[in-house]
Symmetry: C2
Subunit: 413 residues, 2 copies
Amino acid sequence: MRAEILSVGTELLLGDILNTNAQYLAKELAALGIELYYQTVVGDNPKRLEETLYHAFSRADLVITTGGLGPTDDDLTKETAVKYFDEPLVLDEKALEQIQVIFDRMGKEMTENNRKQAFVPENNGVVMYNANGTAPGIIIEKDGKIIIMLPGPPKEVVPMFENQAKPFLARKQEYTFISRVLRVASVGESAMEAMVKDLIDAQINPTIAPYAKDGEALLRITAKAKDEAEANRLIDPVATALKERLGKSVYAEGETNMETEVAKLLVAQKKTIAVAESCTGGEISSQLVRFPGISEVFLEGCVTYSNEAKMKSLGVSEETLAKFGAVSKETAIEMAEGIAKAAGAQIGIATTGIAGPDGGSKDKPVGLVYIGLYNNGIVEAKEFHFAGNRNKVRERATFQALDWLRRKLQYEK
Amino acid sequence: MRAEILSVGTELLLGDILNTNAQYLAKELAALGIELYYQTVVGDNPKRLEETLYHAFSRADLVITTGGLGPTDDDLTKETAVKYFDEPLVLDEKALEQIQVIFDRMGKEMTENNRKQAFVPENNGVVMYNANGTAPGIIIEKDGKIIIMLPGPPKEVVPMFENQAKPFLARKQEYTFISRVLRVASVGESAMEAMVKDLIDAQINPTIAPYAKDGEALLRITAKAKDEAEANRLIDPVATALKERLGKSVYAEGETNMETEVAKLLVAQKKTIAVAESCTGGEISSQLVRFPGISEVFLEGCVTYSNEAKMKSLGVSEETLAKFGAVSKETAIEMAEGIAKAAGAQIGIATTGIAGPDGGSKDKPVGLVYIGLYNNGIVEAKEFHFAGNRNKVRERATFQALDWLRRKLQYEK
């Protein structure tokens, strides 16, 4: 089956919104094993919309549209599709009721215009009722061609595709593609690839693809299989082999992130923590506090930007600051130990560094960061050099601090 | 001039990356007053790429491509374009030197493949040298048709378009569209629209468009003008009228954000600040610390999640916590005053609330947040009720805390 994505909406042509629907649908089609050759964006213009839809069906079996199902005269996706398929529209009472429900929920009167949205093809159609907006989605299948019409807002597109369009398409596919992602910390994408290159080259089904995203290195294992159970049977041994090879660097599987994993470990192990931040400025605390339930173990955070605050709140000694400077291994150690003791926490974590753009010197350049980690009486510090602007340095320092703690919690219980 | 955007890359068809280039270019074309009717995405396939490019030129005068300028055999945008224009390619020594510079900077050997990237059209072409990657961009103009070929990575596309392609296009346009954005805080989009509806309706040039982005309400004033000076003459009185109407809610103009504006005010007024956060968990500190130079005035931040920390670090009294609870106006007041006095700061700001998903009650539901503000001896607190999940509550509380402080600094100096 060959597919095209057709995004309808003048707001896309003006650059007012980002076409996240196209990426979402492209990913879903790839997972279903459906070939996608083109994505097109067209405005709310009847002639150009019609030309584009006809052109798409001249080379594809399946066209997925987003947008143009609204109540206004500009919204013409459905009208154009039924013209192509030569199908009359009739009022669908259930669709009308659903639209009424949405209006009731908003506390607004339904307008006459919105009745237009409740018209659906009399034959060869499937109505996808919409719990999140007024426009029902519609599938038409006739003479070997399929159109799946989805609304425009991503919060309506995603659940409608997931719950209604995807099962419809999956039934037509003999095989599906199921992926599992391994998340790798503190190893660059190319270094990671080199470590597992022979495994990647040896694999046909599942395949292994390395990629980088938001500073993390990821490995995607994708199996072609009849169902999820078969996919898991294919993926499991490959995931195990990769994890053995990459060791402690693999910090999680699937959709998650470092701060969530660290927060989970802290809560599961009931380890209390306190954080003292200089260059990261509260970012470590803020990320950990995103996790619901962290209040059980998160005792205190300090943003000690000034030397005075480092001395007063953390008990860093004046001598250490004078002799080694605020950005030093020694200060990081005293900060980590100081915050842990002040808060009565089992773990103390501290950062001090030069995030830039100013404040760097030859001896202590921008990007130099010391991370201190106190854990049940033992305190250590590590030196890092991060590339990038002020925010990148802060992000990377935060990630490294959390990854160090993650390794301690996972492997040195 | 009618334009099309053609994004080349199989990774877009697989949904591996989001097509941010198309949005950026669409916005830029709209600002230049160039009509855009279609955006197309095609993979790295020679036949489909050629068909798509020829189809685009059958209906457009200008085609802007991104991607397909890399060193591999799959990268065929340039080869397809010179076929359409019937122009031979020749080696450009300066382009080759620039590629060598990029390789030297990465500390890598240039491969023979990369020489391919230094070939440019012998005639009718403009080379856009690339300071951020190995692929030079190319413009070809012939017989009333123009192609602008840009690389794929957004960090190369944006500066190349801005500095080289945009001036080239601007010279061809009689009028350009220049916008100015007013940023409005603590007023919803629809409330803001209602406040200025008569002004919006009365305007033809410039136009006024309200929109919402990341929880902020924005007003975009767009003038059609011959140049920037004329645009400013048209925009200035309209901006003034809008600002008079919206008063203190307008917190800034142009590309900026709340934390930057607050940090600028603090530094300019040399007002020292300390922050005590419970439900926002370090987010206020972290946002302020993003601003380079904040170390002049930011004395200390505290994440006091537990009652013990609130008492020990901020001096909140045990009686207040027992009588009113940690989430109360009284606690917010003692936190704000406590952190300011502990840090010796002129300003103290504090948050305490229930971010959820758990911890809510009938009296104190999820979303209830108290913000305390101490400023030169006077301390106040306000009660807020924020909708949304844990992260939304934290984001909104952070934004409101900063906006309150912004109003104090701007209007009660």
